[in-house]
Symmetry: C2
Subunit: 573 residues, 2 copies
Amino acid sequence: MLDENIPQLKSMSIDELNALCDELRNKIVDTVMKNGGHLSSNLGMVELTVALHYVFDFPKDKVIYDVGHQCYTHKLLTGRAGKFDTLRKYGGISGFPKREESVYDCYNTGHSGTSISAALGFAKARDIKGEDYNVIAVIGDGSFSNGLVYEAFNSVSEFNSPVLIILNDNQMSISPTIGSMHEYLEKLSAESEQRDKKRRHETIFERFGLTYDGVYDGNDLGCMIQKLSEVKQKLRTRSVILHVLTKKGKGYLFSEENPQETHGISAGSATATEYSTVLGSTLSDIAAQDERIVAVTAAMTPSLGLSDFFEKYPARSIDVGICESHAAVVCAALAVQGLRPYFAVYSTFLQRAFDEVMVDICSQNAPVTLCIDRAGISGSDGETHQGAFDLSYLSMIPHLTIAVPKDVVEFKRMLLASPDFNAPLAIRYPKDGFRRFDGGSFEFGKWEVMRDGGDCVLIACGERMISIALSAARIAADDGVECCVINARFVKPLDEVMLSALPHKHVITMEDNSLIGGFGSLVDCFYAGSGKKIKNFAYPDEFIPHGGVNTLIAKYGITVKNISDYIIENAHR
Amino acid sequence: MLDENIPQLKSMSIDELNALCDELRNKIVDTVMKNGGHLSSNLGMVELTVALHYVFDFPKDKVIYDVGHQCYTHKLLTGRAGKFDTLRKYGGISGFPKREESVYDCYNTGHSGTSISAALGFAKARDIKGEDYNVIAVIGDGSFSNGLVYEAFNSVSEFNSPVLIILNDNQMSISPTIGSMHEYLEKLSAESEQRDKKRRHETIFERFGLTYDGVYDGNDLGCMIQKLSEVKQKLRTRSVILHVLTKKGKGYLFSEENPQETHGISAGSATATEYSTVLGSTLSDIAAQDERIVAVTAAMTPSLGLSDFFEKYPARSIDVGICESHAAVVCAALAVQGLRPYFAVYSTFLQRAFDEVMVDICSQNAPVTLCIDRAGISGSDGETHQGAFDLSYLSMIPHLTIAVPKDVVEFKRMLLASPDFNAPLAIRYPKDGFRRFDGGSFEFGKWEVMRDGGDCVLIACGERMISIALSAARIAADDGVECCVINARFVKPLDEVMLSALPHKHVITMEDNSLIGGFGSLVDCFYAGSGKKIKNFAYPDEFIPHGGVNTLIAKYGITVKNISDYIIENAHR
């Protein structure tokens, strides 16, 4: 049934629909095992999504998937089955909802907790325009710890524009869900098993003006169709929250038993990255000697490499759930009180704590270390997950030192030195970490000359760029052009002593970040008016789509060939 | 009693303490009427603060004031009465808690909702270090709509480190408090009047593992001392939320009756600024013709000039409370559905929605207009309220156009043109708006030559800078140096056509923003390698303290004299 046509669900029997669910599940497993992607959350969502499409009228009705990584069934049902094998590949279909891709994707998501706010916006727009359609937010219990959800709840009565919120409760975010709201949801589930579903005491949701209806088995297609049909009637007059239990990884035994391991599957491998591993082991080593060390995460402990640390030092481990802002404030307070917190977080998600990093951490000069993982292009998750902006949004913050190790060896050195660094520190590193460079000494604030050369200078940030720079320099040398290559392991402050002393007329900067506000722009400002000839290799002013890391870096012209060509052409001018 | 010594509260009788409260209240009114500042919130907090100091042992115990503008009594009681007349003046004491100022200020605040997260961090640090003290967060009901508060609540059980949260419920944020949580608090207060305080049904707070105790009259000193003494005992083993009602403006009749007008008092005047007024009237005019216009605020409707709009167009007006992230997502959704939302917000508070502006608004290319008030230096509120970073954190975001009007006339033109601008747009403007410049035509993306001159070019952003640039150019002309002055009314995209055509060797940029990532850095990047001599006038890489706007701008060297001197010295080199 799954091809580029949209299956005519509404005319199918329950048996046919259940057969369709099997087909969907197989397609998802096959594709994710090949292309990587989100497995267990999508397997849990098959019946619920089919039921939504059976009961509601898309694209007239609108459904917004929170975070969005659970949208595979939705995509397969809306004309994208034929090209589903391009999932997450460059130029192929995205692993997240994309308005650019289909009229059935009405709102792009990627970061946690936005779906209810967006649903309220849709419903308000509908009412202002006097239109008539249903608006549905589908949100997992992991996102439920995020403050945006509460801000939206607090608005429901005021907006007075009915929406349906489906709470997809699988008792997991990427790691098991954290916090009192999670315990509360468990309690609601437990109560529902013991008593009549109709009458229980007022839920927290009813306090916010929502009609609460639950708890239902989201993997039972018949049940879901019936329940959604009932709820659809209520939506004429009021907002409803429907509490649904689904099984993460449903229908695929390995995934059911290992939902955490199969949340995100990279093509080929699901192991922790090298940088993450080094973070975890080094921080554990430091913590054994230094009682001030505290590790803080926002629902990503295993993929950040910190599971062992959390097991060894539970009293000094804090996972706040998907609450980056809260995590940053907690870190600031810990640091103000003399501890040394390490907030490990993906580059793209740290954007959520931009204000708190500035106000709470940096304006107080609190010695928090931000361990920024998946910095630079991170690949197949696309626009909302690339880490191509952190050098820009961090370098503008006073008091913050920004380090970019050239490899995991240098990363470890930075970590070992960090407890004595008495100010806010950010260390950013990419997903991959397989390169090793010869390296001499390490000193805070000092860059490192990796190769001498008098014709031009390549100043490069991070292992991907240094690797390209060294290769380009070797090719240029074959052409008689001698390039100096510098490891700019501190983006802020710049090593102004070295910059001032550089004799080269031609300066080339290279970074795994957007040009605007990034490393290159800092060098441009430093050399403004100096008469130097400067060329910046960095990402242009656009959102970077999904695709392979190397494909994308090459798309933006940062290749050995382009750079060696540029050097050979310009260095002697 | 109030001088540079710390009054010995614990040995005073209730009568003496009440007399002290009168003295404190008089001191606050006198000072705020002279220096400007937050009046009504501080008047409401006098007894509660005195009771805290009577019962707890500061600085051993720690108190964190949410937002922090209600800390005047705290400052007066902790050795700062003698210099309280320097409140909010450059070099004087801050209107917010400052660790740099006193050991009694344990954590700096300024933005909403951080106090509970910070208190949990303090309590965790205490328990990790095996220390023994109490941690108290004092938070107003206005902040209670903020998502951070919920994220912190959700952590209370997990942290398992007792804190006291005092909910100072005066039924007002800057405008009356918004949302279901507010209604819920009202309900709790009403219930408490009807029944025995001890037994009522489980509150929302108890669901989060807090012991709820309330509702008490926070302006009754004896009652507060007794209640806090009781609560102090409970804190040995559990976290408590104490719900206290206070009267905003208490003891000063005009303020009691007009708490909204007396929330913030500028020295001299409390009227809306000119830009705000123009925003409100223009948006109302546009909305009369264009049914797509929606105004969105986050608890600041009057000071943003939108009270009339909200009255005229209630169905197209949304105040979400202090929830900038939520507001940004709602705007994105409204825009995606064909409406034209205008999100009016202070520059410093928009930092809270950085991720949502990037992901929800800009990556979807949603035509939302951000009306960014109090941009540039905003004066006496200090570090956490200066708007000196928005050009930096916005210019790095793809798809976003950033406009900076040269005066309110141009601001109005920009607003009139904005409904037809089919992409995200930010317009930033300062607090003051009293200048008028002759101006020709206006076109999106095009700069304007304000004055011709061949010796050098001054490219200036916004009315403060253009005013200084024109004066400097006139002085330079008297010395025989002819300067071109350009109104760079679009920071992004730069007017590259004009930049490419400029014949001047000497280029000077001027902006009311930090240099890093700001306007000057964009020009530096554009001209990198061009051989132009460039000088950037902008704010350095530091947090800008409180003080008068002109005092601060001069402190950073952006004066007519400095610039004319620079021009005269350099233009002919």
